[in-house]
């Protein structure tokens, strides 16, 4: 209410006349915000109802922006495992050298809905050390 009043005073001061057009615009903006908010939880391209735990060896890794990754060779196939931005991995103590080729890793995360070979990792364990990625 106070905000609306301030906006009103602003319009008067700057000689802006919000007519029916302005009201429609504001309504439209409110609807867009509401639609996005409700769509947000359905947006995730990774299936958080299907947590997976994979263990294997690192075939290739990228300590890269916007997200690091490892190709993890498991018993049945090689997964593309999406990690976190390098800045986050660095600050949580997961150094580039730990994602070395041939290292054994365990990852927990969610598979991509549209790609059965891709997983977004929530955490990764290399040796005794587990790093949270979210």
């Amino acid at each position: 209410m106070v905000k609306a009043l301030n906006l009103h005073l602003y319009f008067i001061e700057y000689n802006i006349h919000p007519g029916g057009c302005m009201k429609r615009l504001l309504t439209l903006m409110a609807l867009c915000v509401a639609a996005q908010a409700s769509a947000h939880h359905g947006w995730s391209e990774y299936d958080d109802q299907r947590p997976l735990r994979l263990s294997g060896t690192i075939e290739e890794s990228g300590y890269e922006n916007p997200h690091g990754f490892v190709r993890l060779k498991t018993a049945d196939k090689t997964w593309l495992v999406v990690l976190a931005p390098p800045s986050r991995m660095e600050s949580r103590g997961l150094a580039r050298a730990q994602l070395a080729k041939g290292a054994t890793a365990v990852v927990e995360g969610f598979p991509k809905r549209s790609d059965a070979g891709e997983l977004r990792a929530e955490r990764i364990t290399i040796g005794q050390k587990t790093t949270e990625l979210r």
Partner: protein, 160 residues
Amino acid sequence: MSVWAPLLTMLDASAVARAMRGSTWLYPTVEVVHIVGFSVLVGSVAMFDLRVLGFGRAVAVPAAGRMLLPWSALSLCAIVPAGLLLFSAHPYELSANRVFQLKLCLIALAGLNALGFHLGVYRTAANWQAGAPALARLQAVVSLGLWIGVIGCGRFLAYS
């Protein structure tokens, strides 16, 4: 896409692209430059479009244009190089991404819309005391819609 393949390969392997992927802070810093740039671009364009639509009549349309639009043009000097750098980090993934393709189409349409406006109806803006003509208002609404669409695509790139 095949015509572009050698160019994409070259870009993907370039020192700049490797730096964008490999350096911890370069990528997010370039993102900030891109975002600050398009805040100025879309901010100034939106203010001008709203003026054409009849809001803020205390300032005449040509005066609003002289004040706002140089900032729109100048902001491109930050947005475009930063955008190209971001693109260079993952040129294959991005160029094949439908949301990215849509974003480029919307930018092209917004550019054509602005060009049409400035070569056309805007030339009579000195005589718009009674309000902008219908075509100008239509182009202002189209401009607002396209730029919001561009920002939407840019954001949804991270989720597609």
